[in-house]
Amino acid sequence: MEEVDVEPAITVIPGVDSSQRHMGFVWGRGDILLYETQHKGTGSGEAGCPLIHVVRKDEDIYSPILRKLFNESHHIFVGLQQSKEETSSKTKRPQFVSVSKNYRSVIRACMEELQEVAVSTRDAALSAQCCSQVSILLAVELIWNLCEVLFIEAVPAGSLLLHLLDWVRLHKADVDEKAQEVLQSDSPARHHKYWDVVICYVLQGRMDEARQMLAKQASQQPAARSMFKTLDSLMKKMPVFNPAGSQTLTEFDLKWRHWHEECELHLQDGSFSSNSNLETICKILLGHEETLLNQKEQLSTWYHFLVSRLLYTHPSVKPTELHYYAQSSMDLFLDNRSDPEPLDSILLVAFEFDIHQVIKDCSIALSNWWFVAHLTDLLDHCKLLQSHNLHFGSNLREFLLLEYASGLFTHHSLWQLAVDYFDHCPEFGRIYLELQIERVPLDTERKALKVLRICEQRQLAEQVRSICKIMAKKAVRNNRLGSALSWSIRAKDAAFATLISDRFLQDYCARGTFSDLDLIDNLGPAMLLSDRLTFLGKYREFHKLYGEKRFAEAAKLLLSLMTARIAPRSFWMTLLTDALPLLEQKQVIFSADQTYELMHCLEELMSGETEPSDKRTVQEEDIETTKVELLRLALARNLAAAIVKEGTVDSL
């Protein structure tokens, strides 16, 4: 498949002088930043152009009306992917046709809205933009419709022409407007557009409407009544293929030839020679090339010319014959005056049934991947694409879907649609999603949770961890320790959880109370994530027990925190100090054994403290010494009381 060498589009950046300076750049998520710079030398002492330009490609995703297009087509896309695999593609065809029609109706709805805005707005720039978007969508729908007829419905000869007629009629609806204008005038038969309307109807094969119009003229010219009657009868008798009928194509063809001959006879014997308009109509019925070409204004496009020509020369045209007629029609109509527009080339290539070329040409012609991505996906479902191996083993459908979805990802809300597209790209969807979802800005907790949910549903474990870590870090910076802790737990980040637990404990030492009690009380099994966290949880439990006056349990827990080495050594002094009120209670709470253990802990702590005392002030030293003395005294007293209590036999 030869690639057409398309010249790269040039975008001009104001203020930067490319002949004097270099241009620096940096990629963003949906844009590229450009600035003037100089890569040689160390700076010239003057700033040059002081601007940084934000350059973007797609305007489409920022248009509120087109957003509906993206949303609704997403819905259709997902529905299509989820339809079950069946054995025969024949049975699925009507379903695919219906999907295709859905897509087209979404395009049309969007066009209508854009048209309305274009007409009603006072903003000239907006109006112009809407108009250009409308014309692009018109072209898109035209192409899509043709692809639906030729590739998806893939009707055989006979029906083919009927479908092409429908296609042309749908896209040349202005004749109805004109007809209305004529009919509503005082004297329709004398209206200056009267004959235009009649001829348009004939060109579109709308015989009944043409005959009705002609009747108006006929009643005005009683003298020529027989002439009108002849023409009317010819038009009435024109054979039209009925796909549901019992007539075969050959039979139809035969009948049509008879009719054609009859028309020829009437032309030859001068039945219409006195009325040039009627004669023109007869010539059209006979498919005279020159006459048809003279109707360029009514036809307006070469493909209308093509269909009209086929209607009146070869209505039983086969799909395989189309391209020949298409090429010659285009050549005749365009007269080699100008190069064909991209749209013309695409339609021609469609008539040639070269699906890949259609997709390729559309990709080049359009700036947004929306159209080619969805159409190719649908065609792939119809099994119409040969598998084309890319350098990393993907196929055309996936390539286009990935491009489209990547474009959506930079939008602040449309990115969620993109996720579904990636889900249905089996080869690279996952990795594209991994790369792009971690860049979604986590502005609010709600948004972060949304992103997280998507990652968790797809087992993107690393992304989950990373997002939670980022949120935890943000929370710590803003001193929201509770939030930081829950994010660390979610990230399963033991190291960070330890860090935050330390902060909590420091806070407690400084202020005497815990913050975020709810969180700490309800840690549950998450407590086991890190030793420090476990300690935090248990320490809080100790405080609760104490508050509930469950002293014996509290005491036991407190001791175990030290003996089981759950508490960090640095915290032991605090714990021992916490033990003081328990030791000084009237009733004996710590048993003798427990008291021995406490003493042991104290001694361990004291002997371990070989820190240079110049770290502390003299005052702090004093406080420390006093504390230790108090502890020793309390412990000793408790020991004595405990021994006595345990030695005493309970008198019954």
Binding site: I13, V16, E46, A47, L51, D443, N478
Partner: protein, 329 residues
């Protein structure tokens, strides 16, 4: 493409680097005026300068953001032979209201004897590691072992490249598939020999060993960039030299016996473009590695894309015509 908006950067001298943060919400600019500015994007898309401060005593060549997992951290490098690490401090609520934030210096890295030409953070799975390269031909890799204390950095590796270095790029692919790999470009124009070197970390020796020198790149190299890995078995590297080059590095299967040496690669030139006329100064991949941008002596930025048949083509040119700007937004 079109210019969506223009920001008045307000530097008093040439801007040498602009860097987006990971989420595209913040940006840092650095200049020959020796300062760095940090900009924040508001909800309506406008950029506001939230910090501006003097960072070095010479032109600041590059500025780069650490991954947000490590907080709000920047690194800068300069002609003054140093690189520095900066951290944002959450300020008073008054500051927040006025839209200002403070950045403080966490460390200065003074090991280089010459201008420090590039500074990059290593991929986040390696921890918080900073890499610099200098005109003295040495690539230095530093690590902050305690991510909560960014004033402690230790020099972990010094890679002597023997040629004056201008740029470095880490292979962004994650740890499980291969060892850390870094590409170094040299702008030396006195010596012959390949100007792109690939170093790979060796688990056994715990050192970086040279895996490859690109003999086909003999002209000075100004920029180098690994493409984000899309689950491919090979690596893609873009090089800015007298032309734009795109290379594919295919790891050759290691012999069982030589598993201790660096991976051997087959180096293929995938594309070569001379459109920039003389020197190409910068190359950079977009996030999905579907587009490569380059800038060169012709003062233009060009965009390169591979189609679905893997043929590379220029798909866009951004050019300044020196016309005056209508107005900034």
């Amino acid at each position: 493409m079109f210019v969506a908006r223009s920001i008045a950067a307000d530097h008093k001298d040439l801007i040498h680097d602009v860097s987006y943060d990971f989420h595209g919400r913040r940006m840092a600019t650095c200049s020959s005026d020796q300062s760095v500015k940090v900009w924040d994007k508001s909800e309506n898309g406008e950029w506001h300068c939230t910090a501006s401060w003097k960072t070095h005593s010479g032109s600041v060549w590059r500025v780069t953001w650490a991954h947000p997992e490590f907080g709000q951290v920047l690194a800068s490098c300069s002609f003054d032979r140093t690189a520095a690490v900066w951290e944002e401090i959450v300020g008073e609520s008054n500051d927040k209201q006025r839209g200002q934030s403070h950045w403080i210096k966490r460390t200065t890295l003074v090991d280089s004897r010459t201008s420090v030409t590039d500074v990059k953070f290593a991929p986040k799975h390696m921890g918080l590691m900073l890499t610099t390269c200098s005109a003295d031909g040495v690539v230095r890799i530093y690590e902050a072992p305690d991510v909560m204390n960014l004033s402690q950095w230790s020099l972990q590796h010094e890679i002597s490249c023997k040629l004056s270095c201008s740029c470095i790029s880490w292979n962004p692919s994650s740890s499980r598939t291969h060892s850390p790999m870094i590409a170094v470009g040299s702008d030396d124009n006195l010596n012959v020999g390949g100007k792109v070197q690939i170093y790979e970390y060796n688990e056994n020796t715990r050192k970086y060993g040279k895996a490859e020198t690109f003999a086909s790149v003999t002209d000075p190299v100004h920029d180098i960039a690994f493409a984000p890995n899309l689950g491919r078995s090979f690596h893609v590297l873009a090089v800015a030299t007298k032309d734009v080059r795109i290379f594919k590095l295919l790891p050759l299967r290691k012999e069982m016996s030589s598993s201790s040496g660096p991976t051997k690669f087959e180096v293929q030139t995938v594309a070569q473009f001379e459109n920039h006329n003389s020197q190409v100064w910068r190359v950079s991949w977009n996030i999905t590695s579907t587009l490569l941008a380059s800038s060169g002596d012709d003062g233009c930025v060009r965009l390169w894309k591979a189609n679905y048949m893997d043929n590379w083509k220029c798909t866009g040119i951004l050019k300044g015509d020196g016309s005056p700007v209508n107005g900034t937004s």
